[in-house]
């Protein structure tokens, strides 16, 4: 029987010949991810009677949500986590400033084809960019895996999204993802495994593929998968932490939903307040005044994102009275952007550059908006209150559009500044 990616990998992990959607399997994941929430999970683990974690090598603990600590309370939280990883012998620990957890998993060769990654963060599907099965889970169940090494998973229905053709110049995978979320809505892939197929996906660099798998969390997906290809294997060559075996969906697998799109018809898109599925073409929202532009996050804080923004900002200035915040997704991205001269471009344009992490993405610190202000951001969420105050608005767009809007002081197309 032909199987989808999700059916196949969960069958393999559960040591079954096959699985069907709706079936419950018990498996041991290859990687479990936790971030600043490691300390509360540790509390739950102790309440369960846990003393030693099941397998320290399974863990990836990455501090990113409020780093460097904005308050004593946050610092205490970080301290507890540092003690925890030491005491448990967890070596995959990334302290403040190393980068955003989803970016680090990929960069450090911990997200591998054919493996199962579970994270106590809703954007864990990001790691599916490497051909892994990656899904977000709750804190209690994370604590339970730490204790017993196992978890129940429901085998998801699968959705096949085929994208043919070529994206027009200046249109990115962010625009493609927003377009699809606008069409299928926030629950369009609820509980499903979203597989990406088609020549337009194969033509994307890895970093832009990651934007797609990352954003599927906003369509309700359990996980999202892109077939590993030569690009993936080259990237992993000196990076992969272990040997791995890629898993591909079967040719005639059965999908609950199949969608087809033509990349050539996609234009720059914007997600408008206050939901990610409230998507409009840039042409319809052009001219909306903004106060702050934010370039960063796990969705669009990588080197080519910074490059696209730097190209727009070269020789230009942020509009008077407006602000722009830049946060590279990781230390490696930061260094590469420095060497490529992008950071100089940002500084000269008047932007503020901050250390790698989540920053204001979920309203923690380092540039949250004031009451009544409007932000345009490269992030993945714009729910009311997401950036800190309910009385502000967040628009989501691609890096080049965010940069152009910072220069114009209003939502703007890069070619019009």
């Amino acid at each position: 029987m032909p199987l989808t990616f999700a059916e196949k990998i969960l069958a393999k992990k559960a040591q079954l010949p096959k699985t069907v959607p709706g079936q419950i399997v018990e498996i041991t994941p290859d990687v479990v991810l936790s971030h600043d929430n490691t300390a509360p999970i540790y509390g739950l683990f102790q309440r369960m009677g846990g003393v030693k974690v099941y397998n320290p090598d399974m863990h990836a603990v990455i501090l990113d949500h409020a780093t460097p600590a904005p308050s004593t309370k946050h610092a205490e939280n970080h301290r507890v986590i540092r003690e925890f990883v030491k005491e448990q012998g967890i070596t995959n620990f990334y302290d403040i400033g190393k980068g955003i957890c989803h970016q680090i998993l990929v960069e450090s060769g911990l997200a591998l084809p054919g493996e199962v990654i579970l994270g106590s963060d809703s954007h864990t599907p990001h790691a599916g960019v490497m051909g892994a099965f990656a899904a977000g889970i709750g804190r209690t169940e994370m604590a339970s895996i730490w204790a017993i090494g196992q978890i129940w998973l429901r085998v998801p229905e699968s959705m096949k999204i085929t994208v043919n053709g070529t994206l027009p110049i200046g249109v990115t995978s962010k625009d493609l993802a927003l377009y699809i979320i606008g069409e299928l809505k926030a629950d369009g892939a609820l509980y499903m495994s979203v597989e990406w197929h088609g020549e337009a996906i194969g033509a994307l660099p890895l970093s832009q593929r990651a934007t797609l798998t990352n954003l599927m969390a906003e369509m309700g997906a359990k996980n999202s998968y892109i077939s590993p290809d030569q690009l993936t294997f080259n990237y992993l060559k000196d990076r992969a932490r272990r040997d791995f075996e890629a898993i591909y969906p079967d040719e005639n697998a059965r999908y609950a939903v199949e969608m087809e799109y033509d990349a050539g018809t996609i234009e720059p898109m914007i997600a408008c307040p206050h939901t990610v599925d409230n998507v409009k073409p840039l042409s319809e929202v052009k001219g909306t005044p903004i106060d702050q532009a934010f370039l960063g996050t796990c969705t669009n804080g990588r080197l080519d994102d910074l490059a696209a923004a730097a190209e727009v900002l070269e020789g230009k200035k942020i509009a008077p009275g407006k602000r722009m915040i830049v946060i590279p997704a990781s230390e490696a991205v930061y260094l590469a952007a420095l060497q490529a001269g992008y950071l100089e471009t940002f500084l000269k344009a008047g932007a503020v550059i901050e250390s790698p992490g989540c920053g204001p993405c979920m309203g923690n610190h380092m540039g949250v908006p004031a009451v009544g202000e409007v932000s345009i951001s490269t992030a993945n969420r714009n729910f009311r209150g997401r950036m800190g105050t309910k009385e502000s608005e967040v628009y989501l767009a691609s890096p080049a559009v965010v940069a152009a809007s910072a220069v114009a002081g209003e939502i703007q197309h890069p070619k019009d500044i």
Binding site: G49, A143, S144, G220, F383
Partner: protein, 166 residues
């Protein structure tokens, strides 16, 4: 656990975790016993004072969307809500329900038929809902999940498994 009989509190589509348990309390209220008094505060101010053990919440599509905060489940399980029936659940919310031994039932037909305020019966073992408009079936909970239910939730379940290993 197998049979539930309770009064229905019916709500609409896309009820997010912010209105089920207000975000402003996520870091200030940490004792599960205190959580029920804030349940559904921004959606139905009458709920917290009026809910009785075994009452059933009936919701539309994508119940529990938004953040993954577990308090949005605990505030209802601690209020001894018998079950939530919805057209669909946000994924992490669904998992949080089962892990907190709160039955989450997907049954769109029943949601259409059930009236607010009526008393309904649910048989979890057989996967059956009985309401004024008739009888509706849903797939019974799988065994692995039933074990977590019978232990009283994932914390207790894991505790037992750890003890058994020693």
């Amino acid at each position: 656990m197998a049979n539930i009989q309770g009064r229905v509190w019916k709500y609409g589509d896309s009820i997010n975790t912010d209105v089920i348990f207000p975000g402003k309390f996520t870091y200030t209220v940490s004792d599960p016993k205190e959580m029920p008094q804030y349940a559904l505060e921004d959606l139905d101010p009458k709920f917290a004072g009026g809910v009785q053990p075994q009452d059933v919440i009936v919701g539309g599509r994508n119940w529990g969307c938004g953040s993954s905060r577990e308090q949005a489940v605990v505030c209802l399980s601690e209020a001894k809500v018998g079950a939530i029936i919805a057209k669909s659940f946000a994924r992490i919310y669904y998992r949080n329900c089962l892990n907190n031994a709160l039955p989450a039932i997907v049954c769109p037909e029943a949601v259409e038929a059930i009236q607010n305020g009526e008393t309904i019966n649910i048989n979890l073992k057989e996967g059956k809902i009985i309401c004024a408009a008739g009888e509706f079936n849903f797939p019974p909970l799988p065994e692995a999940v039933m074990e977590i239910f019978n232990a009283g939730g994932l914390i207790e379940y894991t505790k037992k498994r750890l003890e058994a290993e020693e």
